[in-house]
Each structure stands twice: as C-alpha cells, then as structure tokens.
C-alpha cells in the first residue's frame, strides 16, 4: 500500500469540500472494499477522509418510505424491524451478502459504491479499461465465469457485485447526495439513473462527481398487498458473490399480477432492472408460463462469452424460481 494521509471528518460540509478540492482524496467509510483495493494497488489516494464520525447512521420512517443513513451498516439495516416487516427483499439481499464480519463493518453508502470483483480490475498486472482507461480488457480473453452477460460492452464485462443495489433498484430507491455546490441541500438521484453501463467509458460507474457524498438512501415501502423476496444462486452456501440473483416484488390480486418489479444481479454490469419482464408480468396470471415468459424477456439481449454462457439459462431459472417463490406458485 502506498503511504497516504488520514483525517477524521468533523462535518459533512468540511469533508465534502476537502475531497472535492483534492482529486487524489477519497472518503473512507467501513473500508471493507477500499482498504483491499489500496493494498492491491488498484487505488492509491493521497488522502483518506474517514467519514464514520459524521453520524449519518440509522433508519427513520417517513411517509411511505424509510430513510437510511449512508453510514448505517449492512447488519443494522438487515436488523431493522420496518425492513424486516415491509421490505423482505432488502433484508434478504443484505443477509445473503458477504459475511457477518463484513456486514458489521460495511456501510449502506459504501455498499452501493463498491467496486467490481473482476479479478482483472483488481490485479494491476492485467489490462483493465475500468482501472486504466484504454489499456484493454483482460477479462475478455481470460476467465469470465463470474462476469456479466447484460449491459456489457467491448471494453468491459465486469459484474456489479452488490446484492443490495439490485433490491434497491427494483424498489425505485434513491440516494441523497451532498456536493460542494449544494452546500446544505441534498440532491436526490433515483438509483435507476445512478448507475452507468460501461459503454466506451467503463471507468465511469455512476453519476456522482468527485467529492459528492451519499448521505442517505431513501427506500419506498411496499404497500399492503405487495410481497417481495431476493434469491441468490451461487456455488457455495454462503460468502460468495452471485452467479445470478433476482430481486422480486409482486402485487398479486386474485392470482393476477397487478404489478411487478424485477431486477437481476450477478449477471450485469450494473444492478439490472428488467422492465421488459415487468411489462410481461403486468396483468398476467401468476403462473409458471407467465414467469418463464418474464424470464425470457429479462434476458433479452444477453451477450454471453464461452465461460459464462450458462448464466443466460441460469438467470432465467433464477428469475422463474424467485417469481414462483414470492408468488407462492409451484414452478
């Protein structure tokens, strides 16, 4: 790890100003990804501003939503009674992620900004357009079992690793962001507009400007009549990133899907909202046929590579299973 300066933040405005002013500065929250990246030489900030003293922690309920402080830990959010009661998809996505030790340290804001687990991104001896724009993509010619099949480009096939983000994208959550220009006022960005596909610029993963700080996440509560769940498929039973995952919320009325939400994880370069599949679900009977049609729609446009071609069908089956489970319908 390269030597760096470390400061503890004393206020939001000061922290935002300090990082904004210094292109080589970065925030430090739980550190569960950041410190690894620094040890591996993937990131080498000159200055780390530790924002854990800022508070920004806890869950408050508001009209039809919960507001989650960005520094709330994954464990804290998973244990929140409102989340457990109204947002099982969020709770499941948290508890199926990482390990208890990591969930005790990792923050919600940090979770949404975590970097890809792509081993070519994380090994500085490899070409990577995300880490070093223009250097190429080591994954394309390498091992891509864990890589994306949706939202990819010829420059990057790295998978977005977060489970929580998949659930939040499905729920139309938004992040509250503080920038140097807005001073005391938070800017709200719907998560659906927050993440960027790699395209020609894989280094740009979201719409935050350097120095902008996520202060909170707003998650709309599902209304009565909705049910939700998160299914994560992986090789081992715990502590592994998804090969495929699905966040599902359904409003069922007399066996008919009035409305449904679906997002996919483990298969895409960003948390993948499957709106085409939602169109299939809307107004359709909650049957295996409907779910299979939705799954086909969700994977439309998938662009697999030899090492991850199986993920197209695996993701479809994951979608079908998640929809069936949430709907209480046998496959």
């Amino acid at each position: 790890m390269r030597p760096f300066e470390y400061e503890r933040a004393t206020g939001v405005a000061g922290a935002v100003a300090a990082v904004t002013a210094n292109p080589a500065a970065a925030y430090l929250a739980g550190g569960t990804t950041q410190v690894d990246l620094m040890k591996d030489g993937v990131q080498a900030p000159d200055l780390l501003i530790d924002i854990m003293p800022l508070g920004l922690r806890g869950v408050t309920r508001d009209e039809g939503l919960i507001r989650v402080g960005a520094l709330t830990t994954m464990a804290e959010l998973a244990a929140d009674p409102t989340v457990a009661r109204w947002l099982p998809v969020v709770r499941d996505s948290l508890l199926l992620a990482a390990s208890p030790q990591l969930r005790n340290m990792a923050t919600i804001g940090g979770n949404l900004l975590q970097r890809t687990r792509c081993r070519y991104f994380r090994d500085v001896s490899c070409a990577c357009n995300k880490r070093d724009p223009g250097s190429g993509c080591g994954a394309l010619a390498g091992s891509h079992r864990m890589h994306a099949i949706l939202g990819t480009s010829e420059h990057c096939i790295a998978t977005h690793a977060s489970d929580l983000a998949v659930a939040l994208v499905a729920l139309d959550a938004a992040v509250a962001v503080r920038g140097a220009g807005t001073d005391t006022q938070d800017r709200k960005i719907p998560l659906a507009e927050f993440y960027l596909a790699p395209g020609d610029t894989p280094a740009a993963e979201h719409t935050l400007a350097h120095g902008e700080l996520i202060t909170a996440v707003e998650i709309p509560l599902l209304a009565a009549g909705w049910r939700s769940g998160y299914l994560k498929v992986r090789d081992r039973a715990s502590y592994e990133f998804a090969l495929a995952s699905a966040a599902v919320a359904l409003n069922l009325q007399d066996g008919v899907i009035a409305s449904g939400r679906l997002a996919l994880g483990g298969v895409a370069t960003l948390p993948w909202r499957a709106r085409g599949a939602e169109d299939v679900l809307r107004g359709a009977p909650a049957t295996a046929v409907t779910f299979r049609a939705a799954a086909e729609a969700a994977l439309a446009g998938a662009a697999p590579h030899p090492g991850n071609a199986f993920k197209v069908e695996l993701a479809r089956r994951t979608v079908v299973r998640a929809l069936s489970t949430v709907a209480g319908v046998r496959e």
């Binding site: 790890m1 040890k39 390498g142 091992s143 090789d235 199986f310």
Partner: protein, 731 residues
Amino acid sequence: MTTTHAARTVGAGLDRVDGPLKVAGAAPYPSDFSFAGMAHAVLVQATVAAGRIRHIGAAAARAAPGVLAVITHENAPRLERAPGGLTIGPPPPLQDDRVLHHGQHVAVVVAETAEQAAAAARLIDVGYESAVPLLELDDPRAQRVENATGRDVVRGDAAAALAAAPVTIDVTYTTATQTNNPLGLFSTVARWDGDALTVHDSTQGPAFVRTALAVAFGVPESGVRVLAPFVGGAFGAGLRVWQHVLLAALAARVVGRPVKLVLTRAQMFTSVGYRPRTVQRVRLGATGAGELVAIDHEGLEPTALEDEFAESLTRSTTVLYECRNVTARTRQVRLNVACPTWMRGPGEAPGVFALECALDELACRLGIDPVDLRLRNYADVHPQTGKAWTTKALRACYEQGAERFGWSRRTPRPRSMRDGPMLVGYGMASAHYGYVQVPCQARASIDREGIAHVRSAATDIGPGTYTAMTQVAAQALGLPPASVRFGLGDTEMPRAPLQGGSGLTAALGSAVHAACGRLTAAFLDVVADDPGSPLRGCQVEDVTASGGGIWITAQPARGETYPAILTRHGLAELTADGQSARRRDLDGEPAIFGAKFAEVHVDPELGLVRVTRVVAAVDGGRILNEKTATSQITGGTVGGIGMALLEETVSDPGTGRLANATFGDYLVAVNADVPDIDVIFVGEPDPMTPIGVKGIGEIAIVGVAPAIANAVFHATGRRIRSLPITIEQLL
C-alpha cells in the same frame, strides 16, 4: 455436528493439550516471532510465465522510505541447491534471468517495516522478454516424464483381458488444480550470528529446512537451527523447502539484520505448491457377475520445469481390488507452472476419485449394488505381492458404514429418490492409503517433580500431535497427561521425519514409546543394586509403569515413584533416547482403509448440489485420541466436499496467471456447506508399529469426492466426470 464411535483408543477424548494456548492467541506461530533490529521482506513476482527478465528498474524502490535493500538476480549471492530433490524444493531463487512460471519470485525488497517494503515493491518495474509458455498438457513441445515415482504397475495383461471382457467401461475423468490454502500464511523469520542461522518457519519438516539452508548458504548444518513449535496448517504445503524460506535467510544475510517474511494470500497460491490438475482414463473389464478381470488406469498431470515433483495417481488402483490384469501408469508433463506439492491425500485423492467413479459406472451398468460390487472384488491379500495385510478391516468399513448411513434405503434407479422438490442421491466409495513409516527419534526425561519432558523435532500442523504424544508418553510412563510436557518443532531436538504421508503418528509415537521404555529401564538401572529400593534387581519385563512410578507387576504394592528414586540417588533427572523404524521382521503389507458414504440433495432446476450427510468409516489401526482423530476425519471430509464441488485454482489461458488467488474467489467449503459428518473407527491395532497406529491424515479426504460424485449421479442421472461439479454442468 460430528459424532464418532471408536474401536480401540488409548485416550478417548483428551482435550488438546495446546488448546488453551491456541484459543487464547498465545501459541507462537512463525510470524509471531520477532528479533531486535528486525527488518521486513516483501517479494516481487513475475507477471509473465516464460521468458527472460530484460531489465529491473529498482532505483525508485531503493530510494523509497525505509528501504534497506532490493535483491534481484543481478545482485543476489549464489545459492546452492540441496540434493534430495523432492522435499528440498524448487531451484534456489534469483540465480539467473530466466522466468519459468507466472508468479516466480524475481526480487525481494527489504525495509524497516513491512508496509515500507510492500510500498517499495510496487515501485519496481520489471521488463520481460516474453516467450510462449508451455501451459497445456497436450502441448507437443512439452517434455513428458514416465513413471517418475517408480510406482507404475503392469500385472497380467490388461489389454487382452479388456478385449475379452464381457462388460467394459472406458471413461476419462478430470480433476482441478487445488491450492492447499492453510489458514496460516507461510512465514519465515531468519537471524544470522556469523555463520550460524536461526529460522522460524512454517514447515512440516524442520530437519529438511535445516539441511536445505545449510547447503544453500554453504554453512555447517550444526549451526543452523529451525523452529516450528506451531504451524497454522499446511495440508502438504510445508513438505518442501520453498524459495521464500531461502530468500528470508538471504535477505537477512544481505542487510546484516534479522528479517521477517510473511507471504500474502495471493502468494500462497504460487509459492508453496498446490495439487496439480489431472486427466485420468480408466478402463475396467468385468464379468457379468461383476468380477473385475482388467483395470487400466492412466493418469496425467503437470509438473514444473525444473523440479522433481511427482506423485502416483494409481497406487490404490493396484491394491484396492482383487484383479489379475492391471496396468497403472502416471505421467507428468513439464510446463511453465509453479512447483506443485503433495496436498492431503496426494495422488490418492484424485486417483481414487477416478477409480471409484468408474466402479460406480460399472455397478450401474451391471445392475449390482455398488457396495456389493466392491465386496465381490475384495482383496483378501495384497493383490500385487500376494502377502497378507498386517490388518485390514475394509469389509467392516463397508458394513458398518452402510449400516450407519442407511444404505439399504437406497433405491438403485437414478432420480428415484426425492425430498420435496429436491432430488436425493446416495453414493459411496472405497478409500485406501499406503502409509509410510520412516525412522524417527525421541527423547524422554523425568525430573524430581515427577514431570516428564518428552521431545522430538517433529511438527504439529493441526492433527493433535502434541496431544497424542502426550498420551503415548503418559501411558508408557504411568503418569497423568498433565505431568507430561511434550515439545516439538526444534531441530535441537532428536530428529523426526516430515509430518506427511500419514506416517508421523506411527513413527513418532513409536519413538516416544521406545524412549519411554528405555527411560523406565534407566530408572531400573539406577536402582539395580540399591538395597533401599523395592525395585532392586528388577528387569523391564517384571514391572509396570503407573501411578507416577514403577511397580512390580506381580506385586503391585511393591515399587516406588520416579522422584523417590531421583531424590535418593541425588539425581536431577534421568533421560533416555528412543527410536523407531519400519519393522522388517513382519512379512505383511500395511495399509489404511476406509469407506465413505454421502447423501446429496440436488435442486433440479438450478443445478445446486448440497451435501446433506456423510458417513466415514475408517480403519486406521489403533486410534490414539478419539476426539482429535474424529476432527482429522471431519476436516478431511470438509476438504473432500471442497474438492468435489468447489475448489479449483483457475489460470488464464495463454498467460498462466492465476485468476482466482483470493479467499473470495477460490472457494473452500464454508460452515453452511458442511453437513453432519459421522465418523466410525473400525479395525485392530496394526502390528507393524509398536503402538498399533496406522495414521489417518490422508484417508480422511480420500474417497469423499467420488462418494459425492456418485451420489450426484444417483440423484440426477447425470455422470459428471470433471471436478469440481458445478452448476453449469448440472443445468
């Protein structure tokens, strides 16, 4: 939960004597040792798999804060390679500009702190003249090595028997590269005093490290001391003397200060060996009644370019079943890969996977129950030599394992058993390991407090050697275990062999037993003419050690304690040495046996396999400690689950770079993957060793993967012949 049912044990369930130290964090592992003035070394590794180093830009690193030295092939002192090949390890590092594998050590940075060394190591710029590496087993440029272990067998005429056999199986299996991955990062702390060298090291054989270091640096072996009182696991990674060990000592020599070197997790994948991947073709010929008439087993695996590593994949194939016509061969192919090592159940774990899956395929073809098929081909004598087994309770393994598992509930047809939506499969496999007992020495003393001090330069990489040897000594000397202090992991102690090949417990236990016996004799010598001793004139065969002293067997009230003898004779302590070696007077074949039974649940849509039960029945001779032995079998079973379903070290095509050298990406089984494991010990003490022990380290993993693979077939009807069995193979 693990349950156990032991046959013959010396000390059922004694808690680990080193347990309190370990759980309190007070057990000193190699990286815990420090010396005054110590510097820290960090390694720089090659990022190409073949070619030459064109230049090393080290100026920035040398100028970085705290840096004491940057050592490369351009300035490294010459190091000699110790003779003895296998255990000594790969060629000495930094001796020329050639790159033989991705991850080869090309420089070592020494600095005041480990952080400074790591930061400076990132500043080193190495330019390569790359060559096209040899990475594939079928590369025509690659050198092939035939029968490197000398264990190939040709018995009868397998080809003719296959051609004539009414039923034949001809299948090819592959197993993945696996990395040993002990939890403890391998570490070396080295300190020179003139030509004397003290090294703390993560090793399974301190004596071999001492020899290699003495030869490498051209210093007298008597001046080299290697210590390893605690090692954070090894699974075979500590069987060889690796380059980083030499580099730590080299760095200490160059900077004139003690040096500590701790490998990173990523470096653990390229620096301390791994289990090579295998390709194995198995052909079986049988009668319609399931009598094996031919076995042809051909194994292929990679090895490194300038290394002697080799293992036989086919040892069990030649001895597990009665069969007249057997051809068993293992070949290595030399590639631009890091040096492999023996990983738990070396050769046997992958080899028995292929053999036992082929047997399952044959059973299925013939419509014979898999256990029954094995019993029909039971080898009552050693099939190669025709000699009797010293002991063999494999039949009891099958019978008791099947009984405990509930094998009779299995319905033979694949996909015929379900639990709700889940497909259920039952599978089984035989296990065999031919253990090695090599000479070993130990020393035992008793002091005036009645405390025994017993020691040998062995290691305890986790199986419970401290505990088992404490029990052996306590029993031999008639002391409570709390009065025995067992010491190991120091080359100043009597010489011990490697802790490998399931051989140490038998070798060391026998040496400890011998030392304790001679110590008893030494006490009798002291009182031989002592009119004040009730033991005057007694011979060893007349007495029993118990109750903290020696008593006449025929007159149990007559005798005295060790301290009484020492005190009366003005002695501080008495000491005796003992040694052990393989018995040459017993004309029998020793071997370890087992039978493994596994139940899996398979999600038919998602291709997810979960192991739900395992029964492991093991004939390990006498079991010294039921609790630690059960832990051994449990741990090996967990390793077998990983081998079957999860573990694969992946390298990039064309470059040889490892693509998953982290604990997040290389999947070992976690708690949630591990079901109830039921361990049964059967059999009798093995007369081949004085204490009746066979050794169980390897048999713990052998047979687990094929039992699981056979269960997956039974559940799904899909025969997956490539490990690990993953979701994509079952979709």
